[in-house]
Amino acid sequence: MSMLRAIFSHASGRIGGTIVVVYIIIALLGMFDITPHNPLQQFRIDRLHAPNATYWMGTDLFGRDVASRLMKGIGQSFLVGFCAVALATTAGTVLGLTAAWFGRAWDGLVMRVMDVLLAFPAILLALLIIAAAGPGTWTSVAAIAIVYTPIFTRVVRGPALSIKSREFVDAARTFGSSRRYILTRHLLLNLVAPLTVQVTLALAWSLLTEAGLSFLGLGTQPPASSLGLMLADSRNLMETAPWLLIFPALAIMISILGFNLLGDALRDILDPKTRSRPA
């Protein structure tokens, strides 16, 4: 509760937190098909209809309700983003913790593999993975997770190394605590702060990457809806039906803005060194 209070007493946290909560609700509604219309239903008589009381954000070329597709698309983008970040966080935490704990050859191997993964620009590595595995929702999840795993590994390994050499960890060892207990209770709990900030920022990046991959036709495949796909569809119609461009564009921008603001606020709250320097 004190964390929530801290977030909502921070200006960026208040705005970012509100945006993220609203988006999560919209994403859940979209995922469970609680939308104004069926996102796949084609109202052929109302094709390319401008926004009105029935179709809040207008209709597309096939007469599908843009608001419903947008809700479904946000659900889809969030599903991909959250799954990818969950996978990257888990893999990165396990690799970073074990690399710091076991050291020597394992540490060397893990960190060199992470160096190799970091040697690619993110979108290029994602494209390489998709080239091998074929486009699709779950390939996107895997690709984004692999791209962001090295970042989490680095975020965890550095602090874990310094915590490992602290007195309380030595004391726990002396008292006969098991390796698993020390790793999960002492090391992992102390890493919650940097991990929380990183997860929030990674969610913004993964939404951005997912939208980019879908826009290129390599992520979510039609007729399913995703924000990137909606923008790709809007390209040839933006002059006659600008709502097809404006609403998905705003939806992507605001969602990423929300996570970025929340991430910045969390960094300020959890890392006292940066508290006095909002950027």
Binding site: V113, F120, I123, L124, L128, A131, L231, M238, L257
Partner: protein, 320 residues
């Protein structure tokens, strides 16, 4: 061992790892290596042709032998033959690279010309309304994907002024500089937008740090004008993180302009990778990815070396 020595020693090792990753990933494509090489055209082969090709390309050899032969080829500049273009991969890449390089350079200019003055301006008006305005602009800029910026620019131009940007054409700079700049300016603004936001944020933050340093206070107390304090005393030191950021971002731009090149239909390296993936031209995908990763690593290495040259703590291994 100093940071620099360590960094230089690990470079070839990481590059070797990159080559293994690219080689193995492409061989994970469903189907055999001939399918990977010929894409959809492999379906037209008879079994005898397939066997002959397997022998010709050496893919009947163990995987390690195949990798070694491929790597030896890479060292001699032989990245294979593109099925789509029917030409050596390296030639196709080098044909497309100047556009991507120019786009990256122009985007960096846009970012620095907008971001640096905005960051300095905001830092000198810390916590005032104008500072808040710049910070909001920077935050929105960082949160807007470059393909969204591109689409919005195209829409604003077509809806507001009835003009459509030049698309799908590229005239080399030395052939017709004006025409070339006309074709490249909108993609450069699009790609430089988020980059400008990052430069704004980091230069503002660095300036604020430097402005509170003792030597700046000394310069002020000696009666130096506000302009001289900012531009002559503070800015040179605040530039260090900006140089680092610009270098890293430049590395990304060399390989990450896929989306912007796609929107403006520019025949650059990013679009070449994308087309190669869509056409399943795997020799080309493999070659492009390796080429881009190599550039990215070289740029990052140069950035690290520049950073080490600027900051002795890094050079002596204290900071790394």
């Amino acid at each position: 061992m100093s940071y620099l020595t360590r960094r230089l020693l690990t470079f070839p090792l990481v590059m070797l790892g990159v080559s293994i990753l690219v080689f193995v990933t492409i061989r994970m494509v469903p189907g055999d290596a001939i399918t990977a090489m010929l894409g959809t055209e492999a379906g037209l082969l008879t079994p005898a042709q397939r066997d002959a090709l397997a022998g010709y390309f050496g893919i009947d050899q163990p995987i390690l032998v195949q990798y070694w032969r491929w790597l030896a080829g890479v060292f001699q500049g032989d990245l294979g033959i593109s099925v789509t273009y029917g030409r050596p991969v390296l030639g196709v890449i080098l044909e497309r690279f100047p556009l991507t390089l120019q786009l990256a350079l122009m985007s960096m200019c846009v970012a620095l010309l907008v971001g640096l003055p905005a960051g300095v301006f905001a830092a000198t008006r810390n916590e005032k309304m104008s500072d808040l305005g710049v910070r909001i602009f920077a935050m929105i800029g960082q949160s807007t994907p470059n393909f969204v910026v591109g689409l919005l620019i195209i829409y604003a131009l077509s809806a507001g002024f009835g003009i459509l940007p030049v698309m799908g054409e590229f005239t080399p700079f030395f052939e017709d500089p004006l025409r070339n700049l006309g074709q490249m300016i909108l993609p450069a603004i699009t790609l430089g937008f988020a980059f400008a936001a990052s430069v704004t944020r980091i230069s503002r933050s660095a300036m604020l740090d430097v402005l509170s340093d003792d030597y700046v206070r000394t310069a002020r107390s000696k009666g130096a004008s506000k302009r001289s304090v900012i531009w002559r005393h503070a800015l040179p030191n605040a530039l260090i993180p900006v140089v680092t950021l610009s270098g890293v971002e430049f590395g990304y731009l060399l390989g990450g302009a896929v989306l912007v090149e796609q929107i403006y239909a520019l025949p650059g390296l990013g679009r070449l990778v994308l087309d190669a993936i869509l056409q399943r031209d795997y020799a080309l995908v493999q070659g492009c990815v390796l080429f881009i990763a190599f550039n990215f690593m070289v740029v990052n290495l140069l950035v690290d070396l520049a950073y080490a040259a600027l900051d002795p703590r890094i050079r002596l291994g204290e900071g790394g």
